[in-house]
Symmetry: C2
Subunit: 231 residues, 2 copies
DNA sequence: CCAAAAGTGTTGGGACTACACCCATGA
DNA sequence: TCATGGGTGTAGTCCCAACACTTTTGG
């Protein structure tokens, strides 16, 4: 058989599930854009678009996020690739989904070129979504819950300096359980990956909490030494 | 902007990393095929090929496995999608990699249509591989090691009936550590997902071990009840 | 009877759970 | 002074790691 890439080719897109935590409302938010094109014109959908020939998948995800939402340099990992027949009503489309985490307070959204609008929605109050994006969001949430327990990805959802109560609330919101305050703090202390700073909370009307930061370097040292992060 | 899927399209392939355990040699085996086409004619590579327009990704993976190796109805999960520029020397190719587990003793290989040959290689003695397949195998091995600890996927590498020593040896081979026999057995007993059968080992020249089987149903019950499999 | 692997209990230490009160601050 | 969340210790239980010998079978 000769070497020819002779088969008909599907189109390939990337889609990004961007999560953030809303500490006021105590819920999880997903970033959606209102589609400005057919199909599903006017519906809400995940930010994303076609992969260009001169960029990698991750580059495409980063570019689309920037173009459609203005978000930049956020945590991003590949989630899953969806390739069922009929996902797109008109053509064969394969979508590589990405999973992104962002600190809600630290970023501002820009609507732009091919998205008429971008907005945060509570995960449990999503509008009707284009394509199979509801399923993708579900899978992403499963990944978030699963990975949160054994990898320090929660810190991506917090500002660089945070209180222990914020961290605990984050875990409680995402996992849907509550933790004992003293036990939670003891466990973190034992993990030894948080660094206490000399900063404290500002503008709170009660005793200000000490602020901590996550020590990536120490975490990697411990992981390589065979210690497991687990919460 | 009008609705046209106007972009140039990459080709999409699937590649399968099939693992098995060799209990005689006490090592991990990977299934490779010798390429019968350019590029990398004559090199060893992962089984796989182009995704057709009328099949899903998983269907493509199952079809290619059957065509190239004869393997059928084995454990399969999606691993990762590789889309770097230049992975393939001649064209833009995006590969959806799958991760497969099989019981070495229970299956026979068939070479066929577009693979000149198929063979098992020890993971630590791989030949030069086509494309970036060495990297894909590495990623698959990481997935195997990681997932083995908290999901009962090891049973996919064993025959339906197995001894506790086989199971322990499997964990030791894959994770590269050794476990205390009594503690290992106590832990399994506590997990309560193994069913003792009335069968025993045959044709061994020492005391024959009792054979057990994995109880999928009970495992799912426990998982839904919030219990974690962990070893 | 020898080789080879199967099978089996106990103990000490560390981790986890459950639980309640005082402290600091701003309004 | 009050409301709000910040911060802290102990005791009991359970889990885990460490450790060695006897049993069964085939050759």
């Amino acid at each position: 058989m000769s070497y020819t890439y002779k088969y008909a080719r599907p189109s390939v897109t990337v889609d990004c599930v961007v999560f953030a935590i809303d500490f006021e409302e105590e819920n999880i938010k997903v970033l959606l854009i209102k589609r400005g094109e057919e199909p599903f014109f006017g519906n809400w959908a995940l930010p994303g678009g076609f992969v260009h020939m001169e960029e990698s998948l991750e580059e495409a995800a980063i570019r689309e996020l920037k173009e459609e939402t203005g978000l930049d340099s956020i945590y991003l990992e590949q989630l899953f690739t969806y390739g069922e027949i009929g996902r797109d009503p008109r053509d064969r489309i394969i979508s590589v989904a990405y999973f992104a985490l962002v600190n809600l307070a630290g970023k501002v959204l820009n609507a732009s070129t091919d998205a008429a609008d971008a907005a945060w929605f509570a995960l449990d109050e999503l509008p009707a979504l284009a394509f199979d994006h509801d399923r993708i969001i579900n899978d992403a949430y499963d990944r978030l819950k699963g990975k949160l327990r054994y990898k320090p990805i929660g810190f991506e959802l917090l500002p660089p300096l945070f209180s222990l109560s914020d961290l605990q609330k984050l875990y409680e919101i995402i996992l849907g359980v509550s933790f004992d305050k003293r036990n939670f703090r003891k466990k973190l202390q034992k993990l030894d990956v948080l660094e206490e700073t000399d900063q404290i909370q500002k503008d709170v009307k009660h005793r200000a909490a000490k602020l901590y930061q996550f020590d990536h370097v120490r975490y990697l040292e411990r992981e390589n030494a065979g210690f497991y992060f687990e919460l």
